[in-house]
Symmetry: C2
Subunit: 214 residues, 2 copies
C-alpha cells in the first residue's frame, strides 16, 4: 500500500545526506565544503532547507571548532534537551564532557539566594570554568545575552553555538554574539532549537575520531 | 545598540503566543480553537508557521487526548531527547510517567539476542505494557512502522503522536498511522522532530492541572 523504501538502517543517514545534496543542487543553493557537514546535519535534523541560507559562521570557525573539539572540550548546554541530543560517546572518546548546569540543584539555590534567573546563574557558573568551553544554546536567548555580557567583561568562550529559537529577543541576542570577536556559529533569525544545537555539536564531533562521517 | 525588548521572564511565553496569533491572522491562517494550544506550542518551539498547515488530527482527538492525559498515562518516547523535553513535573502531577525504553540496557540485549533493531525491540517492549500508553515519536520512522504493525495485529495505543523528521520513509510512516482507527496527532510531510513531539505532549499537559495555560 505505502511503498516503503528498502534502505538498511545503517544506510539511512547516508541516503538522507545524498538526498539533501541533490535537493540543495535543485534549489541552486551552494554550500562551502568546509561548512557542509554542519549545514547538511542541521537540515537532516529539521527537514528545513531554509537553514542552508540562514546559518552564519565567523571567519575560520570550522577549523577552530575542529581544533577545540579534538582536544576534548567542555560543552555547556542551556537545556537538558540539547544535552540529551549530543553524542556523548563520541565526545567522551575525544576526552570531552557535556554539562547542563541549569539542572543542578546548587544552581537553583544560588539563583534564589542572589535573586537572579536560573539561566543567568547557570551561565555565570559555566564562565567560572577554567577549561576551554563550548556553549551550545538551543533555547534561551537570555543565556546568550548573559554570555555576551561576560564577553564584554573579558570572558573568552572557545566557541559559541548560538541557535536559540523564538519570538522575544532571539534575533537580537544572536546579532549581539555575531558582533563579538569570539568564534561563533549562529542561525540568523527566529529559527533554531535544541535539536539544531545538538546537530551542530554532533556534526563537528563526527568529523573527528577514528571513523569520520559527514 | 540592540534594542532588547523588556519582557519579564514570566511573560515571555505569553508575549510569544500573542505574536504567533497575530502572525497567523496576518497570514490569514485559521486555527480551530480546540487545536490552537497544540499548533501554537509547536510554532513556539520551531518558529516555523508551516506547522499550522501541516499538523493533522484524527476526529475528536483533542478531547480524547485530554481525557487520557488527565488519567495519568504512560508516555513512551522514541528518543531520550523527546523524554527530556516532556515536562515531567506536570505529567507526574497527573499521575503519569514517561519512559524511553530504547535507552534500557535490557532492550539492547534483547535486540541483539533476537537480531532485531533496538527501535523495534523498544516498541515491542512498550506494546507489552498493560497501562494506557501514549506514543511520542519525534525521530524514528521505524518506531512508527513497528507501532503500525502492532496495530494491524490488534494492539491499541491510547494516542499516537507521530512527528518523526527526515528523508527516508518518514512521509510513508506518518500516512500509515493516519489510516488506522487509533487516535493520532501527526505532522504531514518530512518535518517534525524531538522538540515537536515534546511540544505536543506539553501542550496537552498544560491544559490540565491546577493552573491551565495555553
Amino acid at each position: 500500500m505505502h511503498k516503503l523504501e528498502h534502505v538498511l538502517p545503517a544506510d539511512i543517514e547516508k541516503t538522507s545526506f545524498r538526498m539533501i545534496g541533490e535537493e540543495l543542487a535543485e534549489r541552486k543553493i551552494e554550500v562551502a565544503p568546509e561548512l557542509a557537514p554542519v549545514i547538511y546535519r542541521v537540515i537532516h535534523t529539521t527537514a528545513d532547507f531554509e537553514y542552508a541560507e540562514t546559518m552564519a559562521f565567523s571567519g575560520n570557525v570550522m577549523q577552530q571548532a575542529l581544533d577545540i573539539f579534538s582536544r576534548g572540550p567542555l560543552i555547556v548546554t542551556d537545556t537538558t534537551m540539547v544535552y540529551s541530543g549530543i553524542n556523548k560517546r563520541a565526545l567522551e572518546a575525544l576526552g570531552g564532557e557535556a554539562r547542563c548546569f541549569i539542572a543542578d540543584p546548587e544552581i537553583a539555590a544560588e539563583a534564589k539566594a542572589r535573586g537572579v534567573t536560573r539561566s543567568t546563574a547557570a551561565m555565570e557558573r559555566a564562565m567560572r570554568e577554567e577549561r576551554p568551553t563550548v556553549f551550545a544554546v538551543g533555547n534561551a536567548p537570555t543565556a546568550l545575552i548573559s554570555l555576551y555580557e561576560g564577553i564584554q567583561k573579558g570572558y573568552r568562550p572557545a566557541l559559541v553555538i548560538g541557535v536559540p529559537v523564538g519570538f522575544v529577543n532571539v534575533v537580537q541576542a544572536k546579532e549581539m554574539i555575531m558582533e563579538t570577536d569570539v568564534p561563533w556559529i549562529v542561525n540568523r533569525g527566529r529559527k533554531g532549537g535544541s535539536n539544531v544545537a545538538a546537530a551542530v555539536c554532533n556534526a563537528i564531533l563526527y568529523q573527528l575520531g577514528d571513523d569520520p562521517r559527514f
